[in-house]
Subunit: 189 residues, 2 copies
Amino acid sequence: MREFLLYSRVGATSPSFRNMIDAGRLDIVHQCAVMALFKSQAHRNDAKFHVILNGPPNPPVHIEIEGNELRDIRIDERSWEGVFRKVLGGKSHPGVTVSKESFQTVVKDANEAGANIFTLNKSGKKISTAELGDRPFFIIGDHVGLPKKDEVFALRYGETLSLGRQKYLAASCIDILNYSLDGLEAGHD
Amino acid sequence: MREFLLYSRVGATSPSFRNMIDAGRLDIVHQCAVMALFKSQAHRNDAKFHVILNGPPNPPVHIEIEGNELRDIRIDERSWEGVFRKVLGGKSHPGVTVSKESFQTVVKDANEAGANIFTLNKSGKKISTAELGDRPFFIIGDHVGLPKKDEVFALRYGETLSLGRQKYLAASCIDILNYSLDGLEAGHD
C-alpha cells in the first residue's frame, strides 16, 4: 500500500463553485488524484489518495479515494469536477470517503496504523537512498506549500525526502514517487 | 533542449467539439502538455511539446508549443480547452504554432535538425543506462498507442527506451522523462 496526502490550503469545501480554478485550485487536486491512482487503462489498486481541503466555507474536509474501489470516473478534469461537486454536496461515489478530519488527525492516525510518514523538501534525504518501507505515506503541499506548523507536526512522525533540486508541480511529485516505488518493487522481485 | 511528441490517433482537428473527452481525448493532450512544459510556478524554458492530431475532420494537425514562449495559460483543463479551440479555429496564441505537418515529417525534420529520436516500450533500453544526448526527442503514444508503421518509421532514426514494467499514462511517461533528464543534468553539474 502507498498513500499520498495533498494539503490544499484553499480547496473549496462546498459544491457551489464556479470552476475548478476558482474553487481554490481543485484543478491541482484533480491532477494529483489522477497521478496517484491511475496507470494506463488501469487503476493503481495499491494506492490511496487523500486531500485535506482547507478552503471556505466549511474546512477542513478530508476526502479519501481508494484506487481499488474507485469506479465510474475517467482521468479528465470534467469527470472529477462532477465527483467533487457530488461528494462535497453530501452524495456518495464508489471509492470516495468524505469526513471532517483535519490534516493533523489524518497524519496521526496513519502513523498509528503503521504507515511511514514522509514530507518533501529539496534539503531532504535523496529518494534513491531512503528506506521507504511497505507502507509509505507521502505528504505533498499544493502550489503554496505546507503550513510550517503542519510540517513540523508531520515531522514528529516522519522524515523529509528530496526529489532533487527542481521544484515540481504537486501532481509531478506524486507521479515521480509512484515511479520510484514501482522501480523499488521491481527490484525486489 | 528536450522535446516530446504525442501521437494522438483521434484528437480533434476542428474547434467545434463538445468537450475535451469527446474531442478525441484532448484531455490526454492537455495533461501531456502540462507535464512537458510546467514546473511549480514556472515553465520549463528548455522544453518543447508537439502533438500530432489525427482525428476528424482535417488531419493531420501538428501543434508545437514552446515552454519559453508560452503565455497566458494555466495548468487546468479549461484554460487549455480555450487555447485548443482558439488555435484549431485559426487564431494565434503566444508560444503555439500550428501546421499541417504529418507525424513522419515532424520526426524526419527533428532527426535532420540533430535531435536524438526515442520511442518507449517495455522491451527497450533502460532509461537509466541509455545515452540521451543534449537534444532528446521522445515520441509518446496516446491511450491506443503508436501505429505500427509510424513506430517502424521513427525507429529508422532512433531507438526504444523502457521506463520499466508498468504501463503508464502518456502524461506520466513525459513527467518521468523530464524527471530523469533533470537528474542527469544535475549529475553533470
